[in-house]
Subunit: 242 residues, 2 copies
DNA sequence: GCAAAAGTGTTAATCTTACACCCATGC
DNA sequence: GCATGGGTGTAAGATTAACACTTTTGC
């Protein structure tokens, strides 16, 4: 069930009928970022609303009466990607009167970082597809605005917090990491300065392994120190300062 | 009408009855910061809920079906303080299942910066009072968490964006400005370095006036350049980068 | 004249940027 | 042996931090 689909099951309506003076819908929308082919991508679904014929939208759903916001976005992510150990962070809420053609729906936007190559990820089914951030001109609802807001937030956080490792496989080379930074920041980085800066942050462990199957000299593989993994998402368990 | 008061007028229920499958309440809460007596303060009201006997809460209200989130928080601010030209910024949304004792209410938190001394501000009536941030141990609902989240956001923004001038009268001395920074950041700053840094940002105009009625050598009065005033609040009109 | 804050520069330390060469591997 | 990226250090420039004395005013 997506934000596009406003029906709620009868049982759920019963359970919350004592609150019938509450009449604004609330949803979460997830900007699910992935990284592949040296390109930052976002997971989109074809909109099934007439109003948005031919447009794609973010993955979202109404918040259920018995789940909190973080739980709702985790649920969407789990349902859509099969992953349940991903990075998720609330970014901003959007509540324009006309943002949803079927009625008043306020949405809380999250961004999420997943490893596209992760074998547990089942995406090809459904109508889900990864889209290059660069090429996205227009989305259903106000989802382009939401995407841009989340992209900006990601850019702000990327140099200060060890978040983007969630976009990479567990072990990666420094070249891969640098290319990812470049894709997110939209600029080229000096290799020596980049490596110095990363070394200074002390986020990584040098595994003793080397890249394989590269058509050039293989680089060392690194991984994120375990204390930086799975940084908490909610304000109850606030983002780790590093 | 505050978040504490969940009743909606009948006319409003009628208008939105076609959305009766939406059953979660949505409110906004405003962390209204002020500055007085070298101390950062927040505007609170005594909670009228039994559950929170003796506790204070932030100013908030349910979002009306015909207003967007920014409008709702402006309305609350206007109603409560009489001011309508204040700085307002959305910070985070909170949606724990048990955060409101009367039912499911998700709230969008804003912070706001106002000049306490502004003569238009009528606060003494009602049960509104300014409380020193330092001394607040516990608030109704999850409002202490909301306050802490907004204080942290304010701290993050204060050195990068010209926001805190909204806490000061139009004309102020550099000493007053430095004391305000110190109150927000919770640390002492070197006067010479502070003045150098502020000069570098080029936010201020040197009025030709001097402080009056100070028991020491008067300082020059400065004011914020007009292009930095009233920085926009919503994601539709995003925060000015400076 | 004393108390209080205004106003103002220099130096050292740190961080950031720019930049070039040899090395290991696959083909 | 050639193409590709791996791996490494240094010097100049920019930013930040530490620090003290003279001046102006109110009382």
């Amino acid at each position: 069930m997506t934000e596009n689909d406003l029906r709620l099951k009868t049982a759920e309506i019963e359970k919350i009928s004592h609150l019938d003076y509450f009449n604004i819908g609330i949803s979460v929308d997830c900007v699910i970022f992935g990284y592949d082919d040296k390109d930052l991508k976002v997971l989109l679904i074809k909109s099934d609303l007439e109003e948005f014929e031919g447009l794609y939208s973010l993955l979202g759903d109404l918040v259920r009466p018995d789940e909190d916001l973080d739980t709702a976005s985790y649920r969407i992510l789990k349902e859509r990607t099969g992953l349940d150990d991903v990075y998720l962070e609330q970014v901003h809420s959007f509540g324009s009167l006309d943002r949803h053609p079927s009625g008043r729906v306020i949405t809380v936007a999250y961004y999420s970082l997943v490893d596209i190559k992760n074998h547990r990820l089942r995406v090809d089914s459904n109508e889900l597809h990864w889209h290059s951030i660069q090429t996205i001109k227009n989305l259903a609802f106000d989802h382009k605005l939401i995407l841009d807001t989340c992209s900006a937030r990601l850019q702000e956080q990327v140099m200060d917090y060890p978040v983007i490792f969630n976009l990479l496989p567990e072990k990666f080379s420094l070249r891969e990491l640098q290319e990812l930074y470049e894709a997110i920041l939209g600029l080229e980085l000096d290799r020596r300065n980049f490596r110095k800066k990363i070394a200074l942050k002390d986020w990584l462990i040098d595994t003793e392994e080397m890249e394989e199957n590269v058509p050039h000299r293989p680089g060392k593989l690194h991984k994120l120190k375990s204390e930086y993994k799975k940084i908490a998402v909610s304000k109850q368990g606030v983002l780790n300062p590093v």
